[in-house]
């Protein structure tokens, strides 16, 4: 599983960080950092939750 963020769309709403903090972090500079681009399979449901919650539909999963 590869996590792809369209940073042209991302507005740092930080909902992804709440859904999957192991993978997404919005830091104090207000930018989103992807902590693991290839997270382990056991995080899939959390990452899918992050994809769903993103108000900008900026996150996608490539298998």
């Amino acid at each position: 599983m590869r996590v792809v963020v369209d940073f042209d769309l991302c507005e740092s709403n930080a909902l992804c960080m709440q859904a999957a903090p192991e993978v997404f972090e919005v830091r104090d500079d207000d930018f989103l950092y992807v902590l693991q681009e290839n997270p382990p399979e056991e995080l899939r449901s959390k990452v899918e939750e992050a994809v769903r919650r993103c108000p900008k539909q900026a996150i996608s999963i490539e298998d």
Partner: protein, 396 residues
């Protein structure tokens, strides 16, 4: 359960469908939508689409890891539901046909409120649907001399910001003495109002609309205000809130009271759930019966309601959250703030328009407002979810 009908081709309705399939439901699903469009995302209607930076092909909602056809939905678009018969188990449509169901998701959302006596005039707009947005955008493209926005709530504020960023003269009218007073209180509401003044908007507070003037040929010319003056306008947008779309449920036997009244699990009647702007339910986390008109709630509650139909009995207890983009500021609000709460700035400063304000009530932290501070808003949202005390939240 072999035949689910979803009324409302909305975010809440679409997420309900997606969750039903995700959970393995393989019976039939029919989605009824009053608009001709497949489900689409509404937040950009007051921002990117209205600004002209996006086209409407960006809006359709997508399902994770699936094409929309994979959801195997029988679409009934462009025809509104007009009635519900719970004992016969069918929905009646405006074209006189009936759609039978054994389980029903009610997700017809809310519709824009109009002002008393509001006429239909060219140049006078409301904003809720994609078609509303495109009509408004076409008028903005014609470079009106002055845009008047009636109502400085979040939608009105976003429309004012978008019009201003298009270089237009904008007057923003608010009937209350402070914008967003009920949601944010006087101090924070004033900050949001100042944002518009700094960007050159003529913000007029404690100013209501007395009537609309036309040019004798059906075109808007001006707006009479409650202070006796008139403001000239060739384009106006009325954004004075929404009311739940429950008219089609009159006489159905469901309890309708400012929305479809549900239990704590989103169940309105046996085999009938409601989600999104139309649903009113007791949120046990706040000890409050609420109806939430936010994007995130529509999708979370849509999914929750779908699981309820499948027999999951967990109560729905979210900490509501939403965002509003105005100019270069991102405003985010989580929880249940109100005008009477204690308010404390805990991060940043109002002067730099980058801050976090906490709302406290009865010894608990109940709300957090952020301007360009997304990370701490999410952290405080978690504290609210955890039921943290006011003191602990302040000390963080």
């Amino acid at each position: 359960m072999q035949n689910v009908v979803v009324v409302g081709a909305s975010l809440a309705g679409f997420r309900a469908v997606e969750e039903l399939r995700h959970q393995g439901y393989d019976g039939s699903i029919t989605v009824i939508g009053a608009e001709a469009h497949l489900p689409y995302d509404r937040p950009p209607l007051s921002k990117q689409i209205l600004a002209g930076t996006w086209e409407s092909d960006r809006l359709p909602l997508t399902a994770i890891g699936k094409e929309i056809d994979d959801l195997a939905i029988d679409w009934r678009l462009g025809v509104a539901a007009s009635g519900l018969d719970l004992s016969a188990r069918h929905v009646e449509l405006a074209d006189g046909t009936f759609v039978p169901f054994d389980a029903l998701v009610i997700a017809t959302g809310a519709g824009v409120r109009t002002l008393p006596g509001q006429p239909e005039l060219e140049g006078l707009h409301m904003l809720r649907t994609l078609d509303d947005c495109l009509a408004l955008r076409a008028d903005l493209d014609a470079t009106p001399q002055r845009v008047v926005v009636v109502g400085a709530g979040f939608i009105g504020a976003e429309v004012a910001a978008t019009a201003r960023q298009r270089g237009l003269d904008v007057t923003l009218l608010e009937a209350l003495a402070t914008p967003l007073q009920r949601a944010l209180g006087d101090a924070m509401g004033a900050v949001c109002g100042d944002l518009h003044r700094e960007h050159g908007v003529d913000l007029r507070l404690s100013t209501g609309v007395d009537g609309f003037e036309d040019d004798g040929q059906g075109r808007l010319r001006g707006i009479r205000l409650t202070d006796g003056s008139t403001v000239e306008a060739d384009l106006a947008v009325v954004g004075v809130g929404v009311t739940p779309n429950t008219a089609w449920l009159e006489g159905s036997g469901l309890t309708i009271d400012n929305g479809v009244v549900c239990d704590a699990t989103c169940l309105a009647a046996p085999g009938v759930v409601a989600a999104g702007d139309i649903a009113r339910w007791p949120n046990n986390r706040f000890g409050e019966v609420m109806r939430v008109e936010h994007w995130e709630n529509a999708q979370e509650q849509g999914a929750h309601a779908a699981r309820r139909l499948l027999g999951h009995l967990e109560p729905y207890e979210p900490v509501p959250w939403f965002w509003s983009d105005q100019y270069d500021r991102k405003i985010q609000l989580a929880g249940r703030s109100s005008a009477d709460d204690d308010v404390q700035i805990v991060d940043g400063s109002i002067e730099e328009r980058r801050f976090v304000a906490l709302y406290g009530r009865a010894g608990r932290v109940v709300g957090v407002l952020g301007m360009n501070r997304p990370r701490p808003v999410m952290e405080y949202r978690q504290l609210i979810a955890d039921g943290a005390s006011w003191q602990d939240a302040l000390a963080r």
